[in-house]
Symmetry: C2
Subunit: 616 residues, 2 copies
């Protein structure tokens, strides 16, 4: 499990301190202003430029901006070849320079002066000319004795402020991002104001790399991306399919318990349905349509219009609402080949989709129920840190929003109240609502502290108009309902990708594709092992028998690598015991290496059952 980590909240950084004499306390500091943080990172890029030029005097530095979590600096290295093994050397040089690095002195120059100062560096000259042409100020700075041209904005006390940096990687990058230009060498680095923050980030990077779901997905045989089928179109392998089915099954179960009904809809529709929904021409991720019988059909990019057909299938009364139509429905989005990745960004997206048709007076109650359900789901998957983001309309521009101001204000007030009631961390984005209704997103932190937006609950006054949906009220009058578009975990593919990294592939027992691996010590224990396997399989446990002709040590190590929660070792001892007592005995070890000793199979099954029932 991860160590307790520093975390940010409301502009404060919390550091958990564990003194040697036990206990712990939080050291809380005000975190950096984000603009000043950018100055610090940008300053690191200058430091990097100087270090590289000191090491390789022929190097010419190009641009060096601050980026999320760090900075980079581009270089034209001419014939010099460097690799990531050079990074420690460069870092060492940076630290040596930093000791005597003077504060930045920004000085305005004219183009002529700049051309003269940077005669050795065509990149700076090109930038200087461009800045001058655009009427921008030309600034040079020379902290220490390193002259550089840049847009300005640096830190105040480099020597003391720039300590917590780290170089990360090297990549190629075309000058100005244009492939017609020369390929430069880009060095990436990270910087944080405190060592704790830097360490956390480095740990996250390291862990993320180890847990990369694309890597683990391959190692654990969860899914594959086939060149023949195409990018962004993962095929779930048998073990991945077990996880997918368990997740969908769990979501379906809790939704059914909460009054949701399930439907199944095809993956295509007549194009015209998206004219009715008014997505046509506006929704960019739609695939090209297909002609059939002189008509156009298209892959569905969302499930809503299909679900509305279910509502429209017969007259509905006020008593039938809320009507919660659910489906784990696969939709198709034409993401570019270059933009798809693993399970997190795909073209075949299975949404845990619900469209709840409801009366306006039911919005508040229903929202609260939905959000409680969502929190329960996150708890189930071990996400304990979540927050809500409410997107509301801007009252200064009421003309931008569909429906009465009164309805909006009422709905927004109740969404805000519910968000505050249910979430310790709830924020409001004014003017962030879509024209057709306010929404609430739920974001979770995974075990690495990375934040993911998973749930969206979107209120919609528009589609009931587009599809002419009504219900009959107490007085027999036709009334327009509202709709909640609900995705609790969002894309199932993406959720599985996140879970793989969240658990680092060490799935809880209930989600493990194989729950028990049975390892006979030698071939003479195979028959008894098979009997054990059958006993477990008959009770619905996912057991696998390892028939490999390898040493017991090797098989135990392999099983641990496969992250199978329990191993059963079968040898003479277990079989002898059976012969004497006619009770099946098994020796059990956990994937963490704990030896639970020999036990009755009944007891072992009870142990498994108890854990699975609690979703452990």
């Amino acid at each position: 499990m991860p160590q307790p980590l520093p975390f940010h909240k409301e502009g404060l950084l919390y550091l958990k301190i564990t003194p040697p004499n036990g206990g712990f306390f939080y050291y809380i500091m005000k975190t950096m202003d984000q603009n000043y943080l950018q100055n610090l990172r940008h300053s690191c890029a200058h430091l990097l430029a100087k270090a590289v030029i000191e090491l390789w005097p022929d190097a010419k530095n190009a641009i060096g901006p601050a980026i999320t979590n760090g900075f980079y600096q581009d270089f034209d290295l001419g014939d010099i070849k460097i690799s990531e093994s050079d990074l420690p050397k460069i870092e060492g040089k940076m630290r040596a320079i930093l000791k005597n690095w003077k504060p930045f002195e920004e000085k305005e120059v004219n183009l002529k002066e700049a051309e003269k100062l940077f005669v050795w560096n065509p990149y700076k000259v090109e930038l200087a000319k461009e800045f001058a042409k655009a009427g921008k100020k030309l600034t040079v700075n020379n902290p220490g004795d390193f002259l550089d041209l840049c847009k300005g904005n640096h830190c105040k006390d480099p020597k003391n402020e720039l300590k917590n940096f780290k170089l990360l990687s090297i990549a190629g990058a075309y000058w100005r991002g244009d492939e017609k230009n020369k390929m430069l060498t880009r060095i990436y680095g990270t910087y944080f104001p405190t060592k704790e923050e830097l360490d956390k980030h480095l740990w996250q990077l390291e862990e993320s790399k180890k847990r990369d779901h694309r890597k683990l997905g391959k190692e654990l045989e969860l899914f594959l991306i086939s060149e023949q089928v195409g990018p962004g179109l993962p095929i779930f392998l048998p073990k991945g399919t077990i996880i997918k089915d368990l997740i969908e099954g769990y979501l379906t179960k809790v939704k059914k318990e909460n009054g949701y009904v399930f439907v199944w809809s095809p993956h295509i529709a007549r194009s015209k349905i998206y004219h009715t929904s008014k997505h046509w021409g506006k929704y960019e991720a739609m695939f090209n349509p297909m002609k059939l019988d002189k008509e156009e059909y298209v892959l569905k990019p969302m499930n809503c219009p299909h679900h509305f057909q279910v509502y429209l299938n017969k007259p509905r009364s006020y008593k039938d609402l809320p009507f919660r139509i659910s489906e784990n429905g696969t939709v198709y989005r034409n993401e570019k080949s270059g933009e798809v990745s693993g399970l997190v960004r795909v073209r075949a997206v299975t949404i845990d989709d619900t469209h709840t048709v409801l009366r306006l007076d039911q919005i508040s109650d229903e929202l609260e129920k939905v959000l409680i359900l969502i929190k329960g789901i996150f708890d189930r998957f071990g996400f304990s840190d979540y927050k809500a983001r409410v997107s509301v309309s801007d009252s200064k521009t009421p003309e931008k929003y569909l429906g009465s101001r009164e309805a909006w204000e009422k709905a927004e007030a109740s969404i805000k109240a519910i968000a505050e009631k249910l979430f310790k961390d709830a924020s409001v984005g004014i003017g962030e609502a879509a024209f057709y209704g306010p929404k609430i997103d739920v974001l979770v932190k995974d075990s690495l502290g990375r934040e993911w937006q998973l749930s969206t609950v979107q209120l919609d006054y528009n589609q009931p108009e587009n599809f002419n949906m009504t219900y009959v009220d107490e007085k027999g009058k036709d009334v327009r309902p509202a709709i909640l578009h609900i995705a609790m975990v969002g894309s199932i593919e993406r959720f599985i990708g996140i879970l793989i990294e969240h658990y680092a592939g060490v799935f809880p027992l209930w989600l493990s594709p194989i729950q028990v691996e049975i390892i006979p010590i030698s071939d003479k224990h195979l028959k008894y092992s098979q009997e054990i396997k059958n006993l477990l399989a008959n009770d619905g446990f996912r057991a696998e028998l390892n028939k490999e002709n390898k040493t017991i040590g090797y098989k135990i190590r392999q099983s641990a690598l496969k992250k199978v929660p329990f191993m059963i070792i079968i040898g003479d001892k277990e079989i002898e015991s059976y012969k004497v007592n006619k009770v099946y005995k098994v020796s059990v070890r956990t994937r963490e290496g704990k030896d639970l000793g020999m036990m009755d199979i009944i007891k072992f099954k009870a142990l498994l059952k108890a854990k699975i029932e609690k979703y452990l």
Copy 2:
């Protein structure tokens, strides 16, 4: 439940006779030669023509062929309007004519004679001219006193042989099927050699109409066809989705118990994968491709190539085979709008698909296992009458088939042996095999005696070549495996359509979307009823509470119409009993109208559980 019906087997007709004094016996007769049966039906068409012309002398008969189960006759009725209410009158006239109907006398004529004889009937003249031009014989016949022109082939003794006919319906039909021609009136009739066969057929027609899955699907709210989504693209409604999930769940369960693994694959692929599989350009039901990133993608028309990617994901050893890759995978086929219907012929087809990769020496064993599994599945759904059809190669044209003659002969011999061993009724079609391997189909009879082909097990030596699939044998050598393409029930949509008609919507308890309906006698019994509902729902039973403000009699009738297996009636008596004993009591009735009296809820749940566990 259906009455015992006459059935055909091996050219014999079996009639079950139930004497008044109890017991039963079978009356067995040799059934008709199929060609002679066509003569009889064609003769009926003449009889129909004469009757109509006698009733409406201006009517002109066009063609009148025999068809499956009967015959039709087209008429130009000029200004005369007839409807199906006229059919009894026409039938009466036919019976009156039949009494004195003489045997057919066929007489050859030349075109001139024909033109003269049929000067009143331009259709016959047009046909006569065409026959003459094609050098065909012109034959007239005049049984009784009715002169007709036709292709010949009539029955011998019309008066005695033609008794068992029945007119069925009227439709419009263009002369010669061409919409540029005049619309004629087509009268359909049926004919069988025996009254028993006719009665069975009429009963089947009547029952089929009552059970029509399109009608029941609507009444029972199982699925809908939406104009906006498109023809052939059914959406399963909540109740239909429960049935679909239960069927897929059952199939998945038994397959998993038998060593099948499940995968999930997307619904599109790069077009090029179907070049590899060599379906491109040959498989007509493929949708048009879609362009994306300068590449072509297409809706998958079958799951095979996706499943092969799973096999190809890593090296496989002889020990890994048979490798059984399964998926309830939805494929898309571009059937014409006019050809799709209900669930039986659709564009979105979910196949219970398996691709088993296996060694040649495993074919025989695996085939036997598959067919035993298939038989078990049919038994589960109450299909007790099934037969096998083996399609083998033609040894006279060995060049037409891929792979060695020896492999074919061995495989065919084992398929035939297994079919004969497992099926009382197994037939062999020589030359019916595809070029890439022999296959076996399983056909079942539903409760109406109608035959449906559901399963196909196709051996394939070709795709392992196309996809370069191999395994490593005992000696470390790469060897080409074979593949079994297996669909056990075929299209899930079609299977559900067949099941709706097979059960006439009266699903067994385990498949019923609602298993128990709870009916409170009045509003004051609502709270207790809700408690009962929760008790049932908590144990996983599908219970629904009827809150309608209607009389108890009405609600009971409605529940029976919805074909809900059990009704629970809650009134004062049940609540009083609870107050005294603190044990929940319920009064139970079955959908067949049987009153099971008041019982403890525990007992009722046990009753449900016992039935469901037995798939009753």
